[in-house]
Structures are given as C-alpha cells and as structure tokens.
C-alpha cells in the first residue's frame, strides 16, 4: 500500500530530505517527455525510406537514362509501400485512435505535426500516383485497360518532380517535429535533426534500392549511382552525428554517450562509418569480393538508419527525464551555473 513507487532515490542514512533538492527538485523531470515508442521509431524509419526512395526515383527519372530505369521502378514502388504502414503506425500511437481524423480539422503552419499529417497525405498521394503509373508501365494493370493507358500517358517527369517536395518533406520534417519541443536533446539540435534525418533517409533509401534493384550486370550502373549517393549521404550523416554530439554538450548529450541509447547512437555512427568505409574499401579489393561486401555495407547502412531513430527518440525521452538537461538549456545567460558549463 505504501511502497515508494516513483523516483525512488538512493538515500544515505542521516541525509536530510533537503539534500535531494540541492541541484533539482528531488531529481524529478522539469518537463514531460513524449510517450513515443517503437511505433514512432518504425514510422520515422519507414518515412525516411519512403521519402528517400521517392527522391531517388524522381532524380533517376529526371536525369537518369535508361540505365536508371530500375531505380525509378523499384524506387516508386518502395516509396509507396514504405509509406503505407505510416498512418497505421501513427494511429495506433494515438491515445484515442478512433479520433485520428481530428488531425484533418486544421492546418497549422507552426505545428510540424499538423504539417506532417498533410505532408504525409500529400506524399502518399504522389507516391500512389507514381506507383500506379509505374504499375501501368510495368503492365500490372493490363495493357488494354483505359485507366492504365491514361496513367501511362501522364507526364512522368512532372509527376516525378511533383513528388520530390513531399518526399523531402516526409524524410525531413520528423527532425523538425522533434526539434520543436522542450525536450533538451531535441531542442538543442533542432537545426541539425532535419538535415540529419534527411541524410539518413537518403542513405538508407539508396542502400535499400541498391539491394532491391538486383545484382545482375544490367543493374550495375544503377547500383553504382546509388552507392555514390549513399556515400554522399553517409558522409553528411557522419558529419551531422558528430555535430549533434558536440553541440549537445556533456549534460544534454548524456543519453548519446551512455546507456542503451548511447550504445544505439554509437551504433549509428559506427554503421555509418562502416558502411562508408566498406564502400570505399571495396574499390580496392578483388572484384569477386565486392558484391558481398556491398551487400553488407547496405545492410549496415539500413541498420544505422534504424538505430539513429531509436537513439534519438529514446535518447530524447531520457533527456526529458533529466532535470539537469532541461536546466542546461533553460538557464539564464547570466546564471553562473550556465557559464560554468
């Protein structure tokens, strides 16, 4: 009946309760963290994958030649398939799932979540159209079907171009969404999270597409192009990961340097580094060793994308629990405690 249920602290004999309020209020959080857990991690990963795929497919369509067809094809399908579970993942995360449609009452430019909903809808629509057109082109809808005919007739380039904006949005807004909270880890990195998630989205999509386009020699050029993009994105990701850790500082960044979240974050950096490294190293290796290593590199990059979302979400939750982290970002400039840090 009378157990200490929350926030039980290590207490030493003879220590008065006042000792627990020297640096914080009994170590209790200042702010409330989000309730987000795995469904949101998966949504973030899939959203990145979908957005990245759509971007790659569009780019391939716009500037790629015939060699890029596989990218377009697989990219368009992947973009649509990856985004499909998104709304579901979001809805099951709601406290009142049956009211999900209340999201559609308003558009709020300062609410990344509101924009995100509309962005998700916009993306899903364009991804659907693109996928449909691809399906028509691939003959999945039958040859004589007037609808298929119509779809094939649609201006593919314009369709591709139209999909890039929502694609980039979907891949990047989640970073802004996190940044626009009081959660110290996210707030501190508000400007970096969007770019970071974008890089990760692109690298993971590229890795995924590279895996999916097939290993045949006909696809070698496409794979190569994807790997190039992946490398660029991984490089950007590595730079941003370092920037996030440094920018967070020792207190706010605590969840990135220890605990499970710390391991996850280290894993993110490691996988980005390893993937990039492998891509570079493979070039110097005998040709026959290359494909399996590339495969490994892509898988590692994909895993990194997942770890990144998990580390950021759970790390954010942890930083919200830590009063020192909140105080670190909310102390007044003239406060000596802030200067000391």
């Amino acid at each position: 009946m009378t157990e200490i249920r929350r926030w039980q602290h290590r207490r030493a004999p003879g220590e008065p309760v006042s000792a627990e309020t020297r640096d914080s209020y009994y170590g209790l959080p200042v702010i409330h963290g989000p309730h987000w857990r795995w469904s949101i991690v998966f949504y973030f990963v899939l959203g990145g994958l979908a957005g990245g795929s759509a971007v790659l497919a569009a780019a391939a369509r716009l500037v790629g030649g015939h060699w890029a067809r596989p990218i377009v094809r697989v990219g368009r399908y992947l973009a649509f398939l990856a985004v499909l579970p998104g709304p579901l993942l979001l809805i099951i995360d709601l406290g009142r799932p049956e009211r999900f449609h209340h999201m559609l009452r308003v558009v709020k430019l300062r609410s990344p979540m509101s924009l995100g909903v509309w962005g998700l809808i916009g993306f899903t629509a364009t991804a659907f159209l693109n996928a449909l057109q691809q399906a028509a082109e691939d003959g999945w809808l039958g040859q004589r079907n007037p609808a298929a005919h119509f779809l094939r007739r649609l201006p593919a380039r314009i369709l591709a171009a139209a999909s890039t904006l929502p694609a980039f949005f979907l891949a990047g807004y989640t970073g802004v969404l996190l940044g626009a909270t009081a959660v110290p880890l996210w707030a501190r990195n508000a400007l970096r999270l969007g770019p970071l998630f974008l890089c990760s989205a692109l690298s993971s999509a590229a890795a995924m597409l590279a895996l999916l386009v097939g290993r045949g020699p006909g696809n070698a050029r496409a794979r190569h192009a994807l790997e190039r993009v992946e490398q660029v994105a991984l490089l950007g990701e590595l730079v941003l990961l370092e920037a996030v850790q440094r920018g967070s500082g020792p207190v706010v960044g605590r969840p990135l340097s220890n605990g499970l979240e710390g391991w996850a974050y280290a894993g993110t950096r490691l996988s980005a580094g390893v993937a990039l490294g492998l891509h570079i190293v493979t070039k110097m290796l005998p040709r026959r060793l290359r494909p399996p290593l590339r495969l490994v590199a892509s898988l590692v990059a994909l895993g990194g994308a997942f770890l990144l979302r998990a580390a950021m979400i759970f790390g954010g939750r942890r930083s919200a629990e830590d009063p020192a982290a909140t105080f670190a970002i909310t102390r007044r400039p003239e406060d000596p405690a802030r200067q000391a840090r």
Binding site: M1, T2, R11, P13, G14, E15, P16, V17
Partner: protein
C-alpha cells in the same frame, strides 16, 4: 479552558481571528496554526503584511514556522518554563516598570493589589508544592490560598449564595503578600538561564522573544497569543494556558484589538460542544453539573455553594432555572425546585480516559460512539481496543467504517492472530451518519462564533443526522418508559421532547431547537432578546444562557447573518455571549473610559450618551459609567466598580493570583511531563505534577524519569492533509494521496546515529506498545541541548490507523493514560520512547 476561565472568567478565546490582523506581534506557541487552522491563519498573514512580527515556538519547524519571523525550537513539555521566564523578564524590565500604561492596567484591571492570606506557602518555600498538599490523596486543600480580608454573608436572597469577600488591598503594590509581589517571587527563578537548560532555547533567542513581546505591548501596541492542544495536552496544560493569561494581563493585552489569547479549538464545532457540552461535568453554558454530594442535594444547596455574591454568575439561578424549564417544561415548578431532583448527579470521573478503564474492567457495558474514533484517537490505543472488545454492545455512528467499528476483525492483534474475532463478545452496530454538508445546522468555531450552514445534498441511503438519531432515540425511550415511576423513568418522562419534524425522514426542526436554546417566555413562547431577560421564577425557559438571543424576538436566526465589515463584523453570525466579539473589551479603554490610543480604539465611554459605544458590543453593563463605585451591599454586577472589565469574576478583575478554581495551585508551576528523559531543574524534589491523575495499572505502564530504554522525547501532532483520527480524511482519495502513509519525522543527527534513511521502515516503541511507520529524515526536527546533554525529539503525526486508503501505525499505541487534573485532558504532546530501523513483523501486508 479552565486555564483562561480561572484568570479571566471564561474559557473561550478572548478575541476573534479577524482581530489578529490588527496585532503588532503574534506569538504562536503550542499550536501549528498554519497547518491546523489555515483559514484563521490568513489573519496572521494579513497582520504580517501590515508589519506585525510573528513568533512561532514549536519543537519542529513547521508550515507555521515557515511564515514566521522567529522560530524558537523548544523541548516538548517545557512551555511553562518559557512563559514563566517571560513573566519574570517582563516584571523586571525597564519598560514595564517605567511605562505608566502597564501600572494603570494592572492596578485597575487585575487583582495585583489584593493581599494573599498569610497562610499561603509557595512552591519556592515547600520544594515544589503549594501549601495545603495532601500527598496521600495527591490533592490540594486550597483554604490557605485565599485572599486576606473580610467575608460578608449576604442576607435576604431568594436563592442563597456564597458570602461576599472584601479583600484587603495595597494600591502601592508593595505589600510583600500582595498578588503582584507573590507572583514576582514565584517566578524569580524562571530566568533565561533556566530556559536554556530546560527548554533548550538559547538565552539570546529567549531575550529577543521577550523584548519583541514587550516592545509590542502597551498603550499603542498589542500582542496576541495563539495556542491549541500543544498546550492543553500536558499534565500541566491548564497551568501553561493560565500562565499565558497571567502574562497577557501583565502586558495589558486582554480585551483589546489585536491582543488577547486565541484558544484555537479543534473539530469544526468543538467550541460548541463545550458550550452545550458533551462533557460529563458541565451543563449548558458552563453551569457546573451537580454532583452526588450533600452540597448539591437541593437546588438551594447547589446555589449556596456555587453561586457567588458578586459578578455575573450571581445571576446563576436565572440561567439554571431557565434551563430546567427548557428541559422539564411543565414538570418544573417553583414548588418542586423546578425538577432539580430529576437532573442526574454525577458520582465520579467519567472523562474519556476513565470510562475506557471502566469499560475494560467491565463496569460500563455499552457505548455509543457518535463522531469519534477512539480506537485511533484514544491514548493507549491497545487498551482502548481491549475496552471496546469487553463491551456487550457498541453503537458506532460514522461516515466511514472507522477502526472503532472494524477493530474486531481488522485490528493489528486480530490480523496477527493474537486475538480471534469469535472471542470478542461485543455486538457492534454500525450506523451511517450524515456529515455536515448533508444536513442543516450550526458550527460554533474557535472565536465562539456561531454560523449556520444549509444542507447541500441529501445524505445517501440510510445516513441520517445526529439530530434525527438522538431525537427519535429519545422519542422511543419515552414510549418505552411511559408509566415507569422509577427515578430513571420519571427523568425520561419529564423531558420536553416535542420538536416538530420536517421532511420525508422526519428530521427534528432545528429552528425549534434553536428557539429553545436561545430562550423564550413560557407564557407565550416569544423569544427573549438575550440572557438579561431570563428570570429565576420559571417564567422563562432557555436551553443555554450564553447562546441566549441567537434567535431574535422576531424569530430570525442570527447565525444565518452574513454581513461583514472591517471591524467586529457584528452582522456576521452570532458570537456568544450577546454577540460580543472581543471579550472583556471594557479593558480596551482606560479606567476613565477613554480609548488607550487612537490606534487601539475598540469601545469607549461616551459621556454625551452616557453609555459605552464603539465597534463591538460592550462586554460590560452598557450604561455603567467608568467612575461608578459599588455600594457596600451591592450584588452581582452592581458590586463591580466602573473599572472592572472581567464581569464573570468575583471582583471583576483578571486574576494574577488564583485563589480558587484550579486544582494544581494558584500560580503556574513547571512540572516535567509524566515521562521525561531529564529532571526538573526548578523543583528537583517534585519533578512531576503532584496532582495529575495517573492510572496505575498493569495495562498502562509508565516510564521512569530518564529510563535509558526510552531515551527519546516523542511528540504527536497533526498534518493539514488529514483530520484527527482520520475518519473524514483517510478514506477520502483526494486527501489520502496527499499523505498516504504514516511516518515519523526524525532529525538527520538521530538518523545518522541509528542508520536510518528517508523512506525506511522504523518501529517506535514504548512500554505500552509499538507503531510502525516510514522515516522522514528532516532538518525541521532538531536535537536540543537540555542541561548539557543532547535530547532527541521524534515527531509523529497521529492520524493514521489500519483502515481507509491512507494507513499507518497508530501513534496512540505508544501513549499512556495520564491527565491534567483540571481539564482531564491526556498528555499526548510529550512522552518518551525508543525507535529502531525495521518492521514490526516481516511484511505484514494486507
């Protein structure tokens, strides 16, 4: 109450809560006002905002201390040393001796000048006891405490009364046996050094308190004292309070705005329940309950012994006879002494602690418990439960199934298998009660203010009001006893019990009850305007003379009035007596009837109108001029001069020396609590009260002084979040969550010694029993250095029990039965104990 009554005339608070806002200094001592009287505390906060100093004297740093200017940590049970030293300090101070205000006030308004009998011997002379002590009986014969002077029997009275006393006086206040000099000598040894030794209060801190009080008393400034049960719950509780009254008289703080003594009362209407008492030894309006002694055999005998010749109590026959008329109606006639014979006469001590032992010993067989939870609130809770278990029947009326109703299957000893429910023979009836919001009625609160409250909702199910229960119980008893000619039968048959009933549940009409309480003319039933209209010939009836006038002749219940103002707010409710807000307010003007100062103006004599005027109802005959001198054979209030503010007293003066009315001596004297780790530095030969009633029985063992097995002082107290024994709070989720479990507060110093951390389970133990609780290690509790050695104090809220949502060990398992001789209140504020880390039984869990 006797503490204030003996010196000032009435036991109630002398002032109002609102008047505190006008104080210049407020001393809260013996109370945790902010926590236990938070609404009243708003006026302390107001006073503070106006610049008043607030001093809190309390062993613990509490929520009251947090708002104070000075916190004075004091050892529980040593308050009288502190107050006595204040008296001594004041009497020898430069300011008190040089400012004419004090002399004028004390000379005219107190009995400072009376000469005490030469037979009187002080505790200073007799090693800690007064003259007249009988060590066998543990009892005083007060005859040597009387005034020296002429005793003049009165003739020609319709009802007899005691003789009039004309004391000798020395207006120069120099006579060695005048009250002031006796007081001065008595307190001479109460020095700041003794305070340091006995209370653990550093000398300079004591001096600062004394200087602050002194600087804020006088013609233009007033200091108020607020106390509650941390003064009453001691074997010398009455004397602690009376010492405060003495001090306030010396400082000229009684009867003036912002001054006085606020007796902070307990339960919402505990004041009401002493006015129209649930006490065994009082009749309504503080008339003494007749005893089965020859001196009370007849009405005339009663008056001959209880009725004084002078002062307002001279009118006692009007009050008592009107009461008898109200109770016995037509059965009360001049011929049969108004049925005085039917009034029960008490034959002994039926205070709560005594009846507990009588129940345990099988003398009392049945008990009604209505609005009380003795299984938690009664001292020596184990004995209390054994007492309950030894009854034939027990009726509990409450809003929740409190421990008193569930002890037979839920008490710790039953849960542990020590006692089996089937071995408890008591038949327990649990009846649901309606709480305040579910019924109409009045509360009489701390400052004697009666306020009406309307019913907000219907009580659920079978829950009914107390009035309903008692009325219908009486009605049925009357039916049962109809025609029974035994004394008991006649008593019941004669009772007027004819209130009209209202509503679907036939609740008695409370307006009818109020009219009876307020009083009426028997001939036509017209309400009287006040107790001055009561008569001693049976022509008036009045259920409680001090409430007389609460129903106006027009039939309005004045407790329903709700018009306030910045002053006395006379149209907000009704304050007994006669709607007076500050008692003894004649003292707010100087002997000539002029306000002492513009700032402290309250009532004054208006020579034009030839009457007392001001903000309040004068607590004084309204047209008696200040220069009135009483003729030698005058009686009642006419026997008081125009300068006598204390109208209930024989001589109209506040008593510095109390020749009668107190059982443990005419002057406050420090005795240690019955259980104490240290000796009495003032009276080593007589460390403990020589007259405190003790219960020497195997089931109530006491600890010896300085018993090494029980080295710590423990005090028990309340939390804002709970109410008394918890029946109204521990079952209420919103309150239970705020303080969900029993705990003890211990200092970091002791916690370090015993290896205890906050949140640990601890067991507190005395010879009576043990209680389990969680530890809260806090600097708000501190060890005190008493006579050179460290004394640890443990604090334990006593609200908790085994029932309800918020549970915890019962603090009263630890306490012993032992009382103050005057008030018969137990000593829960200071005893000794030991404490250890751990649990009572491994995981007792539910």
């Amino acid at each position: 109450m006797p503490g204030l009554g003996a010196r000032l005339g009435r036991g109630g608070a002398t002032t109002t809560l609102a008047s505190l806002a006008e104080s210049d200094c407020i001393v809260i001592m013996g109370s945790n006002m902010a926590e236990n009287h938070p609404v009243g505390f708003r006026f302390v906060v107001k006073a503070r905002q106006r610049g008043a100093r607030v001093i809190h004297v309390d062993p613990r740093f509490s929520r009251t201390s947090a708002l104070a200017d000075l916190h004075v940590p004091i050892r529980p049970g040593s308050d009288l040393v502190f107050l006595g030293a204040l008296v001594n300090y004041v009497l020898n101070s430069e300011r008190w001796n040089s400012d004419p205000f004090f002399r004028e006030y004390v000379l005219h308004y107190t009995n400072a000048s009376v000469i005490v009998s030469p037979d009187f011997r002080d505790t200073e002379d007799l090693a800690g006891v007064f003259s007249g002590y009988d060590p066998q009986q543990r009892w005083y014969d007060p005859s040597s405490w009387q005034y020296a002077g002429r005793v003049q029997p009165l003739e020609g009275e319709r009802w007899p009364c005691r003789p009039r006393i004309e004391p000798e006086r020395d207006p120069t206040l120099q006579h060695p046996n005048c009250a002031l000099q006796v007081v001065k000598r008595h307190f001479a040894r109460y020095t700041p050094e003794i305070v340091e030794q006995a209370c653990g209060v550093p000398r300079d801190l004591f001096v600062e308190v004394a200087e602050t009080i002194l600087a804020n008393s006088g013609r233009d400034r007033t200091t108020a004292f607020c106390y509650a049960v941390a003064w009453t719950q001691h074997t010398i509780g009455t004397q602690i309070i009376s010492c405060c009254a003495l001090l306030q008289l010396l400082l000229g703080n009684i009867g003036r705005p912002g001054g006085g003594i606020l007796a902070l009362r307990g339960h919402a209407t505990i004041q009401g329940s002493t006015d129209i008492p649930t006490l065994f030894d009082l009749l309504p309006g503080y008339l003494k309950m007749p005893r089965a002694i020859p001196q009370h055999a007849t009405l005339a005998d009663y008056f001959a012994h209880e009725r004084p010749a002078t002062g307002l109590w001279y009118d006692m026959p009007k009050f008592l006879i009107s009461l008898l008329k109200a109770w016995y109606g037509d059965a009360a006639t001049p011929e049969n002494d108004f049925a005085y014979e039917l009034l029960p006469k008490i034959g002994g001590d039926y205070s709560f602690q005594s009846i507990l032992t009588m129940m345990k010993d099988g003398i009392i067989k049945g008990l009604f418990v209505m609005g009380m939870n003795p299984a938690v609130g009664g001292q020596n809770a184990r004995l209390a439960r054994q007492a309950l278990a030894n009854l034939d029947w027990l009726v509990v009326r409450d809003v929740h199934e409190i421990e008193t109703a569930s002890f037979w299957y839920d008490a710790p000893e039953v849960r542990s298998g020590e006692v089996r429910p089937q071995d408890i023979k008591t038949e327990v009836f649990f009846l649901p009660a309606a709480i305040a919001a579910e019924k109409d009625g009045t509360f009489t609160n701390t400052h004697r203010l009666v306020q009406w409250h309307d019913k907000a909702v219907d009580p659920p199910g079978d829950a009914r009001s107390e009035a309903h229960f008692v009325f219908h119980l009486g009605r049925r008893l009357k039916e049962l006893y109809a025609g029974d000619d035994s004394p008991a039968g006649r008593q019941i048959a004669a009772l007027t019990w004819d209130y009209p009933t209202v509503g679907p549940h036939q609740e008695p009409d409370l307006m009818a009850v109020a009219r009876e309480v307020s009083g009426y003319r028997v001939s036509d039933g017209r309400p009287v305007a006040g107790f001055h209209e009561l008569a001693d010939d049976g022509s008036t009836a009045c259920g409680c003379w001090i409430y007389s006038g609460i129903v106006t002749p027009e039939g309005e219940h004045r407790a329903k009035r709700r018009r306030g103002d910045d002053r006395a707010s006379l149209d907000w409710g009704f304050a007994w007596p006669a709607n007076r807000r500050i008692l003894y307010n004649r003292a707010s003007a100087d002997p000539q009837g002029r306000p002492w100062s513009e700032r402290k103006k309250w009532i004054w004599w208006d020579p034009e109108q030839q009457r007392w005027v001001g903000y309040d109802v004068p607590d004084f005959p309204a047209t008696k001029p200040p220069d009135y001198q009483s003729p030698p054979d005058a009686r009642g209030l006419d026997a008081h001069p125009g300068t006598a503010p204390f109208i209930m007293m024989l001589d109209g003066q506040g008593w510095l020396f109390v020749p009668l009315g107190l059982l443990d001596g005419p002057l406050p004297t420090h005795y240690e609590p019955w259980e104490t780790p240290v000796t009495n530095p003032l009276y080593p030969e007589q460390p403990r009260s020589p007259v405190a009633p003790v219960f020497l029985r195997p089931d109530n063992p006491y600890h010896e002084i300085g018993d090494p097995r029980y080295p710590y002082v423990i005090t028990t107290y309340r939390l804002t979040e709970h109410h008394t024994a918890g029946g109204m709070s521990r079952w209420v989720p919103w309150l239970a969550e705020l303080q969900p479990a029993g705990f003890v507060e211990i200092s970091p110093e002791l916690a370090r010694e015993l290896g205890i951390s906050t949140g640990d389970w601890v067991v507190v133990e005395t010879a009576r029993g043990c209680a389990e609780a969680r530890a809260l290690v806090t600097e708000r509790v501190q060890p005190l250095v008493i006579a050179g050695r460290t004394v640890h104090v443990i604090g334990m809220p006593w609200h908790f029990g085994f029932g309800g949502l918020a549970t915890g060990g019962i603090a009263n398992e630890l306490a012993a039965l032992v009382e103050d001789p005057n008030s018969l209140i137990h000593e829960a504020k200071s005893f000794t104990c030991t404490i250890r880390k751990g649990r009572l039984r491994e995981e007792v869990g539910r």
